[in-house]
Amino acid sequence: MDWLNAIVQGVLLGGLYALFASGLSLIFGVMRLVNIAHGDLIVLAAYLALSTTLILGVHPFTAILVVIPLMALIGYVLQRGVLNHTLGDDILPPLLVTFGLSVFLQNALLEGYTADPQKLNVGSLETASVSVGELSIGLLPLSTFVVAIVVIVFLQWIFYHTALGRQFRAVSDNADIAQLMGLSKGHIFGLALALSLVVCGIAGILLGARTSFDPAVGSGRLIFAFEAVIIGGLGNLWGTLIGGIVLGVAQTIGGKINPGWQLLAGHVVFLLILAIRPRGFFPRVEH
């Protein structure tokens, strides 16, 4: 029963990791950009939510109404103001610029909020749970998992059923020709990062509700996101969910055997999968 419990918790944890990962996957799909500051942006969202709850005295989940537009704005401005200048054939500039951004954000948060761990207080939801047989499933992890699925469905819908998604796919396939057809590459890339940061916003709030966070935890979230993306296969959002679940289960089972092995077990499983299936479980077939 303990083991089953660990697996269920791992699956639910995987939902959170899939949320971390889908924003990363999205911008890679559209503009081949790997954002090293992704994890720090998630943490930034958690802090924005914290400030909103403190200033306006609202519930963290209401704070989402402030955090999401703010993150979208940051994403658009960041892309147009900074990252668009780095995109090209050379992978070095975007990599190093987002790395610099990561260092900047981490220390800006440290300066603004100190290194003390913080937590978003979501009230009774934190401890509430439902019983399924002998299992007791926390409502917060469960709702996080549901949110992850909703977000992925939503992103898929945007990608394949809206004009915006068509533009995303067009610039992804060939940015220059898309530009000739009258699309503004810079604008669309800006929208893509805005959308990615909206997902970061949701992920950040759920992260903050689940565990305590401090300015230094961003790089860890980036690594989990990255592992979920690679395990699931590049460019496949449902694969990313599976990747998150694999990682989450590996961590909870590892942690069950020995608390010190939790993170290590996740990394080791990731490396094993990289050794056996270098392209992940469900690499993008076409498009």
């Binding site: 790997v34 900074v82 190093l96 900047f104 954000l105 790089s219 980036l222 010190g260 993170l263 990289l274």
Partner: protein, 315 residues
Amino acid sequence: MLVVLFLVAAPWWAGRAELRLLGEIYLYLSLACLWNLMAGYAGMVSVGQQAYVGFGGYMLFALTMFVGLPPIAAIGVSAVLAAALAVPIASLIFRLNGAYFAIGTWVIAEVFRLTFAQVNALGGGSGTSLPVSIVKSLASSRSGRESLSYFLAIGAMILVFVSIYFFLRSKRGLALTAIRDNETAASGLGVNIWRTKLEVYVVTAALTAAIGGLIFLQKLRISPDAAFSVNDWTAFVIFIVVIGGIGTLEGPIIGTILFFLLRETLADYGSAYLMILGLVAILVMIKAPRGVWGWIAQKYDIELLPMRYRVQLDK
């Protein structure tokens, strides 16, 4: 040449604090040159070189404490071990391209950190100090130890710098730049990409581990967080190379000087100082991607350490 001689003689003219600072500068310059070799010449951007710095440090402690090797021999052995370890690691992470390779190296560093944190004999998560008897075995007097560790640092720097210089001037170095500039074309000309990259990765790992050993021989204390710190051993190093000029031999030297000037003036500001570092790196990468040295070289058309262009002309 004169500058180098002047610096080698530092124990006779510099005070204790200056000597320590200079030693640290040499080790950072070595790390920067090695990272530059990988990123600037071989096109492999790693954000996980702290894996080898920490490994070298921990191996120094383990080999001296449990095997009884003298510290300098232990550093040599740990370089060999790092090279041996780097081969299977490379075969794994070379499956990842570009930026994903970078994060893959980070995962490896995390695995190293978490693994060493589990080793209770080395102090687990809180780390351990080098026993006094081993420290004393280096040299009996304190000033003797300080001079020795200074000579080791400057020696390591010269070794790293000279080997990179000759490597890049060799045929393999040319192959390397060919790969960086155009992988497909290089492979078409018969360059074995995978092998060349592997060689660079493994040699860099070994030398980085040796530098790591020297760093922790200076510090005399090690812990997983200090040994595998991404800020100390990768972010600062990347900053140095980017500011100075990536893909040039002179760049890391300029970058190291600028970095330490900044650090000595701004270090009191703590995280604000790191924010400035991050911002400066972003600005340089966008406005002057070839760094300070690239800008100088272009403006005045000079090269202090001519190699690439001349090699190409002679061909």
